[in-house]
């Protein structure tokens, strides 16, 4: 289990992290969300020991993280990083050995991981000759080759096509099933919502929401009410107490309900306006929640 406790970091006058705390459990996928510059990459770099926190601590399995722990973590940096002229196999072996694996084990693990992510046949080619998609896979192999107990992935899905996204998601789920803790950052919130067990939303170096995805969706932001009414005038929902119109699609309006607003009163108003075809109440999606908490 990875625990970040009250991390703070300044770069000159810029506050990058301001008392950030979060927990990533073993066998869980943890989505890490925030605007550009919110502090995601800085947080990940501190976990990997690439930056030093001004205050706060990183704990792994209940004790302060050591350099030895960190060598075993799998890391995929945002801007990627491979030696262009080295073959895929040679560099995965190299990274495995830097992580502390003996030569024979590193060779075997590298060959097997490259096979399992589908670039085994091209593993003898210099990386610069691989397609971008295959380079991305090679990058993932670099993070996975040591069978790490913690995977830290900075924007792993950026630049992938839908098939690539599914393939990577499947790989992550396999890892998690074997007990790996995964934390990944992404701007694709639907993806985060679909894949993650837990999510942490940060803004300006502070956590604004954190926990199980369903709990976070339920705890923050206004619930959504989607009501489709046949034959109603457009403005039927305007002026209802505690209700805001946030979207409209044909007959259907999307309403944000403030806390304590009466959904039954909305239903009555809808029936007065016309024939109610559907009436559905749900927690805000992660995207909606994110917009709300980050813009407030």
């Amino acid at each position: 289990m990875l625990e970040l406790i009250a991390l703070s970091k300044r770069y000159g006058d810029v506050v990058a992290l301001d008392g950030l705390s979060m927990v990533v459990g073993a066998g869980r996928i943890h989505g890490f969300v925030g605007r550009n510059g919110a502090g995601k990459t800085t947080t990940m770099r501190i976990v990997l020991g690439l930056a030093r926190a001004d205050a706060g601590s990183v704990r792994w399995r209940g004790r302060p993280v050591t350099a030895e722990d960190r060598r075993g973590f799998g890391y995929m940096p945002e801007e990627r990083g491979l030696y262009p002229k080295m073959t895929a196999l040679a560099q995965i072996v190299y990274f495995a050995r830097l992580s502390g694996m003996p030569a024979a084990a590193a060779s075997a693990a590298a060959a097997s991981i490259l096979d399992s992510i589908g670039i085994g046949e091209r593993s003898g080619e210099p990386v610069e000759q691989l397609s971008l998609g295959n380079q991305q896979r090679c990058q993932l192999a670099a993070a996975l080759v040591t069978s790490p107990e913690l995977l830290v992935l900075d924007e792993p899905f950026s630049g992938l096509d839908p098939v690539g996204v599914d393939a990577l998601a499947a790989v992550l789920q396999t890892q998690v099933a074997s007990g790996t803790a995964v934390v990944f950052s992404s701007h694709q919130l639907e993806l985060v919502e679909r894949l993650s067990d837990e999510v942490t939303i940060i803004d300006q170096g502070r956590v604004v929401a954190s926990g199980a995805v369903s709990a976070v969706r339920g705890s923050r932001g206004a619930d959504r009410l989607r009501v489709a009414v046949e034959g109603a005038e457009n403005g039927w929902a305007e002026g209802l107490a505690g209700v805001r119109v946030v979207g409209r699609d044909g007959d259907e309006v999307e309403l944000a309900l403030e806390a304590g607003a009466d959904d039954q009163a909305v239903l009555d108003a809808a029936r007065r306006a016309g024939r109610v075809r559907s009436f559905r109440r749900e927690a805000p999606s992660l995207t909606e929640l994110f917009r709300e908490v980050v813009s407030s």
């Binding site: 020991g49 030093r52 350099a67 890391y75 491979l82 002229k85 050995r97 830097l98 992580s99």
Partner: protein, 394 residues
């Protein structure tokens, strides 16, 4: 960890095209130096064809070959001419190098120093003989005046062939040393910046402390440079010995060993500074400006070394012996010239070693800050300030 990093450098560098090309080109150069002097060897004295005409043609024809014997490896073949006109024609057509008579000499473009000495001296002797004859001096007296016994040369400190050969060898060794220091030093700088450009450095730093990554890189690239230098020296000396074209001094091997030893020290010193140049740049193009001061210092050191070759006890040589930039190139030359004793060598080595420790510390600090500085060129002062403020890889 350091061995792993160094091992990767050795494997990848030896595989690289740049390494193969530089090895090939330098080997060609070395083979040329070792073999060509034999092929282009001395084919006897320089020959000149000189025509003579006019009143004193006979006497000039007699003196010219005699005077040439005194000259520096010159032979003159004389031809009688009818008149100045024939001389001009033959000089113009290239059949004669010069036509001499009636108090003038005709040449095509210019009268060089060597031929100039011969015709001047012959002309002077003929003219002087005429004056002496007019004054009634002739026979043996005139001959002694015109061609006195040549001076006997007594050198107090004669330069033996052995010494000349030794200086030649150590000079070539120094040129090689300079090439290796600069070439492989630059590889350290470009290796550092290439890892920044490809962003690999971020993965590496998550696995290993910056000082170890840097040490591995320097040791790996240095090992390749050392192996290459040994290959150059062995092949060069073996070729020269086999063809017998170059006079090798008896102490060739100690001289070569000295060059190798100075490569190790010099590379440790220069490569750390090149690593600083690499850490300050964030693109390969910026290496130009971050390593220029270093390149100039290395070139200045080579000039100091060349100067030490001609004047091994001069002020430049004596000062350069104690400057870490120039000591590796200057000392082998001064030692070969027998100019410095053991104490000077020990002091000079000590200065270089202390400097190495200092630049290693500097390089480790700047690298820790610069390695993750991926955008824009960093200033040395700002890198050290940030390092002090903790903006660095722990």
């Amino acid at each position: 960890m350091i061995r792993l990093v160094a091992g990767r450098e050795v494997r990848e560098r030896i595989r690289s095209k740049a390494f193969r090309i530089s090895t090939g080109v330098t080997l060609l150069f070395i083979l040329a130096v070792a073999i060509l002097p034999g092929v282009l060897s001395d084919d006897g004295p320089t020959k000149y064809d000189v025509g003579v005409f006019g009143d004193r043609a006979d006497r000039l024809a007699e003196r010219l070959p005699e005077v040439a014997l005194v000259g520096d490896d010159v032979e003159v073949r004389v031809r009688r001419l009818a008149d100045a006109g024939e001389g001009e024609r033959l000089v113009r057509s290239g059949k004669l190098d010069a036509a001499l008579g009636d108090g003038r000499v005709v040449v095509k473009e210019e009268l060089g120093n060597r031929l100039g000495f011969v015709v001047d001296e012959a002309n002077r002797q003929v003219a002087a003989a005429a004056v002496l004859a007019g004054a009634g001096v002739g026979g043996e007296a005139a001959a002694r005046i015109l061609a006195p016994q040549p001076l006997e040369v007594r050198a107090l400190d004669p330069k033996s062939d052995e010494e000349v050969a030794r200086q030649g060898l150590v000079f070539i060794g120094t040129i090689l040393l300079y090439g290796q220091l600069l070439g492989f030093g630059y590889w350290v700088a470009s290796g550092v910046v290439e890892e920044k450009v490809s962003r690999v450095v971020e993965i590496l730093l998550a696995k290993a402390p910056p000082a170890q990554l840097l040490a591995g890189k320097v040791i790996g690239i240095g090992a390749v440079g050392l192996i290459q230098l040994l290959v150059f020296l062995v092949i060069g000396l073996a070729t020269a010995a086999a063809f017998g074209t170059v006079d090798l001094p008896a102490d060739s091997l100690p001289i070569a060993a000295q060059v190798v030893g100075w490569f190790v020290l010099g590379f440790a010193f220069y490569s750390c500074l090149f690593a600083v140049g690499g850490a300050l740049a964030s693109r390969v193009e910026e290496l130009q400006s971050t390593t220029t001061p270093l390149t100039f210092l290395a070139m200045g050191s080579l000039f100091a070394a060349i100067n030490s070759g001609t004047d091994p006890s001069g002020p430049i040589a004596r000062v350069a012996t104690f400057i870490p930039f120039s000591a590796p190139m200057v000392l082998p030359i001064r030692v070969a010239a027998g100019e410095v004793g053991l104490v000077t060598v020990v002091v000079s080595v000590a200065i270089v070693v202390v400097s190495i420790v200092a630049v290693m510390a500097l390089a480790a600090r700047v690298y820790a800050t610069g390695a993750l500085h991926l955008r824009g060129q960093l200033k040395l002062r700002s890198a050290l300030r940030q390092e002090a403020a903790g903006v660095t890889v722990p």
